[in-house]
């Protein structure tokens, strides 16, 4: 069954899976992994003079991205490309032009896992009400390298990872803002891809005012040149003053059940000279605590290499 809502409050009285751009949900529905009902929120784009589909800058220079803004909008918007260039690069680097044109910011954050077993109708795993992870025992070269013991498939949200590095907040209708890290938790609950309840509606992403003179880079390691889920991806923001790194934010994706912010790497960078030696040392820290699966050992090296490459790009 399909319910189309036109006001955010209607979601609280409507049972079903929320559909925005539909690029994830429609796929699952089509595969028999999701049975609906569907609550379509696309018409909310016109709510509040179109705010939910817009990207706007506030008086304090913070920026608000409506949850129904498309990924393509995020990639091209002048505010984002000028002040949050890393986010724009991440948005431009994911999926395909068709997907980016249809998929929404909110959907990108709340999409379900891309695990092959989750998306196969036969396998009932943690995330479908079962009590196990089939990828753990069967086939997991795409899996995590920071294994929390439950689901071993990495979180798919590139934008979630990028927004962690931007210390963004997300707003849930009727509840106000929360840090984006609270959207995902620590990944220890294998039944969840995010921590929103079924009737909670993500409405905005809020970006703090831009940091002056920051250098950003995003790198996505994939097996073909484009249009693939990342093996490993990294996002870096750096400020260099008088030859020293004074500010660092580092995100990593494709390696854990939730997008990661690598605070230990940031600590290795800040206060250090902006040299190759510094970033090589900091990159190796990214692998600290990695406990890869039988097939994911290469990803530990990939993470270190990808991060080094991203840091090099940021310093370039």
């Amino acid at each position: 069954m399909l319910t189309i809502i036109t006001k955010p409050e209607e979601v609280q009285n409507t049972a079903g899976e929320i559909r925005a751009g539909g690029t994830d949900l429609h796929d699952r529905y089509h595969l028999g992994v999701s049975a609906g009902p569907i609550v379509d929120i696309y018409k909310l784009k016109s709510f509040n003079d179109g705010e939910l589909g817009a990207i706007t800058q506030a008086a304090d220079d913070s920026t608000h991205i409506g949850a129904l803004a498309t990924i393509d909008q995020v990639a091209r918007d002048p505010i984002v490309t000028q002040h949050y260039a890393g986010l724009a690069k991440a948005a431009a680097g994911l999926a395909t032009p068709q997907i980016r044109s249809a998929a929404s910011m909110g959907g990108a954050l709340l999409q379900r896992t891309r695990c092959w077993f989750f998306r196969h109708p036969h396998y009932v795993c943690y995330k479908k009400g079962g009590d196990g992870c089939f990828a753990r025992a069967r086939h997991n070269p795409n899996g995590v390298i920071f294994d929390a013991g439950g689901c071993v498939y990495p979180h798919p949200s590139t934008l979630g990872m990028a927004l962690l590095a931007y210390e963004a907040e997300v707003e849930v209708y009727g509840q106000g803002r929360r840090p984006i890290v609270a959207l995902y938790g620590d990944g220890s609950d294998p039944t969840r891809d995010h921590l929103l309840a079924p009737n909670e509606l993500l409405t905005y992403v809020h970006l703090p005012p831009p940091v002056a003179n920051e250098r950003t880079a995003y790198f996505r390691a994939i097996g073909r040149f484009e249009a693939e889920w990342p093996i490993v991806e990294c996002m870096v923001r750096l400020v260099v003053e008088e030859g020293a790194i004074t500010f660092a934010r580092v995100g990593a994706g494709g390696v854990a059940a939730v997008p990661l912010r690598l605070a230990n790497v940031e600590a290795e960078l800040v206060g250090q000279p902006a040299t190759q030696a510094t970033i090589e040392r900091a990159s190796t820290v990214a692998a600290a605590g990695a406990n890869p699966l039988p097939h994911t050992a290469p990803k530990v090296d990939f993470l270190v290499g990808a991060l080094l490459h991203t840091l090099e790009q940021a310093l370039d």
Binding site: H30, L31, R114, W116, F117, R119, H120, P121, H122, R138, H139, P141, A221, G223, R224, F225, E226, A227, E228, W229, I231, Q276, E280, H295, P298, D301, F302, G305, H309, E312
Partner: protein
């Protein structure tokens, strides 16, 4: 008048396809049509005890739910009818046995797609699950469960070759190379997923509109399953969105006809991409155990091969593919002592079947890797070693028949070598020019490429080059009755105003119909615009055979020339219109002797050699093909632009198979049914430079000297890339695909060592 043959005449379908006007089966709608949902078993091995479709039949919009009990003769198959049209109780005893997850168990016919799909969810199946076999080696164990009751060892088919004396030959060898090679399944990924329509015509016959590769074979199999005479069935092919062998075995033809016949209504269906990937066969995975010996002088004296292919649950074309691999795994070489045992084995995996190259890519991967390794072991140049052993006119095939005249394996290899930097020295020996990266220095990684500082490239890259050569049969082989019909009608009074040329070879995207037109134009000495092609359906003329085995232009070319000559003769006799129907029969072939493999297996062969340059990222294991030279002897290029298209398309498909495409099944279930996780190459994943090189050395048997060429450029790519990887890194990768994880793991092992 300008000759049409040899010109780059625009394709006959180019405007319609570019403008989006061409009609593929999925684009066609018929008045009053119903939608059909095909229900897959969804379980790879089971007995169906009962199938309850009552709730589905009662669902809104449902007109019919058909099961095994509704199929008059519930069996089909291109080679043998070993597959139920619909699995389930109510027909033959073996039909209740599910052997593959995509075995079809029911057809739900409803007013709309949504209604058909909703009703399909209401079907209740009582299964007894059976043990699932996914490893062909495990399937050979004495206590393995049987996939088919009449095959107690799960061996579906086997061949052998015995030539010479192996023991004394290996004793004579100075070096012996032993390896095991594994190749993997490949999805055809054609542009148009399976789709079609069927309806009962006003004359009471059933017409099926479908995309296939062989209209008359489709017709025969539909008629067999429906228990009707073939004349009762008409098969029509509109535009076909690619095939590559994937439409050689049937998927929807019979069930569409059945549903139309049972309901009396037009029936339509289109498979989703996921249904397509799960629901049709794949390139066979193979395992080769190889032992080859050569003398210091560079003569390969012995080749011993043990070959196993994974047939999946049914025959499809497994025995034919195995028959090709039987000789392909020895490469295009004259080896005096040969011992091959080849088996195709049943499992509960997706069936293996026809795919461009038909056992050639798999067999040549093993053979050409062995040759490259022998060259390294002997310290010989790989081109020189190959040329010392390559088949030439007058040589014996492993099957002890003389290679058909016009063998040009050496010529293609020499041209690829020249373009790759090899030269022939004064003593006649081939070696790579000194300025090029040396094959001989391939003992280890190119250490100089290892960089850690912030330089321009920022990547540690090793580069290398490799070369490989192949041959592939043209036409149906091993005694199969090969023939091709064509018909020509000439209209006019004093002069020929119009010619109608009928030939039912399928244009699967390769441009066959354009080639037909060009051959006919020259045969009739008419401009192409005065020729009308009739190519659409089975009523037009007799069978042209399949668009497969690199045969169509060869066979149809002969048939069209024959029909044109006959019609012109009639024209001279004042017949108006002048007509001639001609059937071309090539020279006969023979099946392998069961003990020795002695045979004259194929009408003729085509030849291709390729030179590859690669860059291996030593940090990530990512392999990039930076240049691929593909040299193809096509005898005569009827349309050079179409030939180049075939070569470039094959390069993309072969690079995908070698480096990227990774079809994963677990427990008999497909885990990569999406193009988001079954990765076919994008335009940037194909070689930076592809150089299609056309040689035109006539085949004495070919019309206008042409050779079949569609499959050959698919074949040497994998071993050429693997040789280049070895040249770059010193690592032999014996298993495909060479995805980054596999390459990285091998690099780590090398570093650890």
């Amino acid at each position: 008048m300008m000759r049409a043959v040899g010109s780059t005449l625009s394709r006959v379908d180019v405007v319609d396809k570019v403008a989006g006007v061409a009609q593929y089966p999925g684009d066609i709608d018929l008045p009053g049509q119903l939608w059909m949902k095909v229900v897959f078993a969804g379980i790879p091995h089971a007995q169906i005890n009962a199938l309850n479709v009552d709730r589905a039949r009662a669902a809104p919009g449902v007109v019919a739910v058909l099961t095994a009990a509704d199929v008059p003769v519930n069996e089909y198959g291109l080679i043998i009818p070993d597959q139920p049209v619909l699995c389930g109780p109510g027909s033959t005893p073996t039909a209740a046995h599910v052997r593959w997850e995509a075995d079809q168990i029911a057809l739900v016919v409803a007013a709309t797609k949504a209604q058909a799909e909703a009703a399909a969810q209401l079907i209740e199946v009582d299964y007894t699950p059976l043990p699932v076999i996914t490893d062909p080696l495990a399937a050979l164990a004495p206590d393995a469960p049987r996939i088919h009751a009449n095959l107690p060892d799960n061996v579906l088919y086997s061949y052998r070759i015995r030539r010479g004396h192996m023991e004394s030959a290996f004793a004579q060898a100075d070096v012996i190379v032993e390896s095991e090679y594994r190749t993997h399944a490949q999805e055809h990924a054609y542009l148009q997923p399976e789709a079609g329509l069927a309806f009962v015509r006003d004359d009471g016959r059933i017409e099926v509109i479908i995309a296939g590769q062989w209209m008359h074979e489709d017709r025969q199999q539909i008629a067999h399953a429906l228990g009707l005479p073939e004349e009762q069935i008409v098969v029509r092919y509109p535009a076909i969105g690619g095939a590559f062998g994937g439409r050689e075995d049937m998927s929807l033809q019979i069930v569409l006809a059945l549903a139309a016949w049972k309901t009396g209504r037009p029936i339509k269906t289109i498979w989703s991409r996921e249904e397509s990937i799960v629901g049709h066969h794949k390139r066979h995975p193979f395992i080769f155990k190889a032992k080859w010996g050569a003398t210091k002088a560079g003569k390969v004296v012995a080749a011993q091969m043990d070959v196993i292919s994974d047939a999946g649950g049914y025959m499809y074309t497994s025995n034919k593919v195995l028959g090709n691999a039987l000789v392909a795994c020895l490469g295009p070489y004259d080896i005096p002592n040969v011992h091959v045992d080849a088996r195709t084995v049943l499992t509960n995996n997706c069936p293996g079947g026809a795919f461009r190259g038909f056992g050639g890519p798999q067999g040549h991967f093993a053979a050409e890797m062995q040759m490259t390794k022998l060259a390294a072991a002997l310290g010989m140049d790989p081109v020189e070693l190959r040329l010392q052993n390559v088949l030439r006119d007058g040589a014996l095939l492993p099957t002890q028949s003389v290679v058909p005249p016009g063998c040009t394996a050496a010529e293609t290899l020499e041209e690829a070598a020249r373009r790759g930097g090899w030269m022939q020295s004064a003593d006649g020996r081939w070696q790579r020019a000194a300025h090029a990266p040396s094959i001989q220095s391939a003992a280890g990684p190119q250490a100089s490429a290892r960089q850690t500082s912030l330089d321009a490239s920022r990547r540690r890259i090793a580069t290398g080059v490799g070369i490989a050569v192949c041959y592939k049969n043209v036409g149906f082989s091993l005694g199969f009755p090969e023939h091709c019909y064509a018909k020509v009608e000439l209209y006019g009074e004093a002069e020929i105003e119009k010619a109608v040329v009928s030939c039912l070879g399928a244009d699967v995207g390769q441009g066959a119909h354009t080639a037909f037109l060009q051959i006919a134009a020259d045969a009739l000495n008419l401009p192409p615009e005065r020729i009308e092609l009739q190519v659409e359906h089975t009523d037009i003329t007799g069978s042209s055979g399949s668009a497969s085995a690199s045969r169509l232009t060869f066979m149809a070319g002969h048939a069209i020339q024959g029909a044109a000559a006959g019609a012109l003769q009639e024209w001279q006799h004042e017949e108006r219109p002048a007509r001639c129907e001609f059937v071309f029969h090539p020279r006969p072939t023979t099946m392998y002797d069961p003990e020795t493999g002695v045979a004259d297996p194929s009408v003729t062969y085509g030849y291709c050699a390729q030179y590859a340059e690669v860059a291996v990222d030593l940090d990530t294991g990512h392999v990039e093909v930076t240049r691929l030279v593909s040299v193809n002897d096509v005898g005569k290029a009827i349309n050079p632009q179409l030939v180049e298209g075939q070569i470039e398309g094959a390069a993309a498909q072969a690079i995908g198979w070698t480096l990227l495409e990774n079809f994963i099944q677990k427990d008999g279930r497909t885990l990569t049914p999406h193009l988001s996780n079954y990765l076919i190459p994008g335009v940037l994943d194909i070689a930076d430079v592809i150089e299609p090189v056309i040689l035109e050395i006539p085949d004495p048997q070919g019309p206008l000297g042409l050779r079949g060429m569609a499959e050959m450029p698919m074949i040497p790519t994998a071993p050429a890339i693997a040789a280049a990887i070895h040249n770059a890194t010193g690592i032999w990768i014996d298993q495909l695909p060479i995805v980054p994880e596999r390459m990285w793991t091998a690099l780590q092992a090398q570093n650890g060592a």
